[in-house]
Amino acid sequence: MRTVDLVYFSWVRERIGRGEERIELPDTVLTAGDLIRHLKGLSEDHASALEHENVIRVAIDQEHVDHDEPLGAAREIALFPPMTGG
C-alpha cells in the first residue's frame, strides 16, 4: 500500500464530487489504467465519472501520460476529460 494525491478537473471533478483526495493504493495498481479501474470500485460517483475509460486523460506529476504508463513514484496524479482550452 502507498499513498497518492489525486486531483480531478472539469466534469470528472463534478461527477466525483470533489477536486482532490488522498487515497491508499494497493500494490496491484501499477499503471494509470489500473488506477482508473481501481477508482471505479470506490463509489458510484467514481464509477460514473470514469465510466468511459478511454476518454479519461491522466497526468502524473503534471505531465501527460498514456494509460499504460507505470505510476512509479508518482506523488500527484490528475484525471480529467479531453482539454478544451485555446
Binding site: 486531483v7 478537473f9 472539469s10 479531453p82 482539454m83 478544451t84 482550452g85 485555446g86
Partner: protein, 168 residues
C-alpha cells in the same frame, strides 16, 4: 516541475530567445505584448499574433468559465512554446491563457511569435495554438443567457487532426 520553476528555468536549447508564458485570471493588453516582443530589435522581420476571443454564440452565451490545472497549465504551454521555438527557429514567443469567467468579446488566449521570415512566424503561432488546444489543461464551461445549467464544451476531433498535420 511547478509553475515558478518553469518560469525561472532557462529555455534550453533556446536560452537567449525571449519567451513569455503566463496563465492568469485578469485580461491582458494584446498591443503591449506584441510591442514587448519586438521592442528595440531590428532582427525580426515577421510578427504574428493570434487572439482567441469569447464569442456570444448569437447572443445565447452569457460567459465562458475556464477551469485549469494550476502549475501544469503553464508548464505545458511552456513546453509547447519551446518546441515551436526550436522547430521553426523563432526569435521570440509569448503565450498568455486566461482562466475564470470570461465575458463575450473578451480575450481568452494570446499567442505572439517573432521570426526573421513570415512562414516561420505563421507556422509557429499555428503550431502553438494546435497543441495548446489539445494539450494544455484547460476546460471550458458555458454559462447561458437563459440561466440554464451550462455544459462543458466538448473536445473536437478536428483539434486532434490539426495536431496530426505537424507529425507528417
Amino acid at each position: 516541475m511547478d509553475a515558478d520553476a518553469a518560469r525561472d528555468k532557462p529555455a534550453f536549447p533556446a536560452a537567449s530567445i525571449p519567451l513569455t508564458v503566463r496563465v492568469q485570471a485578469e485580461s491582458f493588453d494584446t498591443a503591449a505584448e506584441i510591442a514587448a516582443l519586438s521592442h528595440g530589435r531590428s532582427d525580426i522581420g515577421a510578427l504574428v499574433s493570434f487572439s482567441g476571443l469569447c464569442r456570444d454564440e448569437g447572443g445565447a452565451l452569457a460567459a465562458l468559465e475556464l477551469e485549469h490545472y494550476p502549475g501544469m497549465a503553464e508548464a505545458e504551454i511552456r513546453r509547447i512554446c519551446l518546441d515551436a521555438i526550436t522547430r521553426f527557429g523563432l526569435q521570440g514567443a509569448t503565450a498568455i491563457h486566461r482562466y475564470g469567467k470570461i465575458a463575450p468579446g473578451a480575450p481568452i488566449v494570446l499567442v505572439v511569435t517573432a521570426s526573421a521570415h513570415r512562414k516561420a512566424a505563421f507556422d509557429g503561432a499555428n503550431f502553438i495554438m494546435d497543441f495548446l488546444k489539445t494539450g494544455a489543461p484547460f476546460w471550458k464551461k458555458e454559462h447561458r443567457v437563459d440561466g440554464a445549467r451550462g455544459d462543458w464544451v466538448s473536445a473536437k476531433d478536428a483539434d486532434d487532426s490539426a495536431c496530426a498535420r505537424w507529425l507528417r
